[in-house]
Point group: C2
Chain length 112, copies 2
């Protein structure tokens, strides 16, 4: 489905937001959390998520901590101070996006 084409560009925002709510999370956990919270409506692909995490880390917005559960690796990510600011920024951008779309699409829509 190309049903989710609107999400293009939203992944970073989602990741930053979840890490704002949960202090630290690992990649696989994020995919599951998103599926759970959205009741299966949105599925984050690993092929999109892992590169995104690496990108955000490279930009200094996330920091990593590698843990082990048994023999299995987990890479926990958390917001840096800069990431915290960027999270708020991303939220503001989402609101701006909304208000702009509203202007373009009103009066047909009820953004509730």
């Amino acid at each position: 489905m190309d049903k989710w084409k609107l999400y293009k560009g939203s992944l970073d925002t989602i990741v930053l937001q979840l890490l704002g709510q949960n202090d630290r999370m690992y990649g696989y956990e994020i995919t599951q959390k998103v599926k759970e919270v959205t009741e299966g409506e949105l599925e984050i692909k690993e092929g999109a998520l892992y590169p995104a995490l690496h990108r955000l880390e490279a930009k200094g917005l996330l920091e990593v901590e590698v843990d082990h559960v048994g023999n299995r690796m987990r890479k926990y990510y958390k917001l840096t101070e800069q990431g915290l600011r960027e999270k708020d920024n991303a939220l503001q951008q989402l609101e701006d996006y909304l208000s702009t779309m509203k202007k373009l699409i009103d009066p047909n829509i009820s953004f509730g």
Copy 2:
């Protein structure tokens, strides 16, 4: 600015919506209308718009009528019947996008 990265994927929706409101419009007019309605917040690039119009036409969502004002060409686009349905569909998708983002981002946001 990558400020508008969230708009990626929204262009078709915007075009369909404007044509739902205005019966027929030509490309340049759309760029101006968007600038006007959003008070300069969003600027549709011609390099994005014209290919999008051609794509939507190829999909059978728009039909063209070529007019002339003096010697200058205008290609007016209007929704086909299929385009009208797809317009409503796109609107629904936008609302779905919103409700999904709300689930992910609540309780921090007030989508008003």
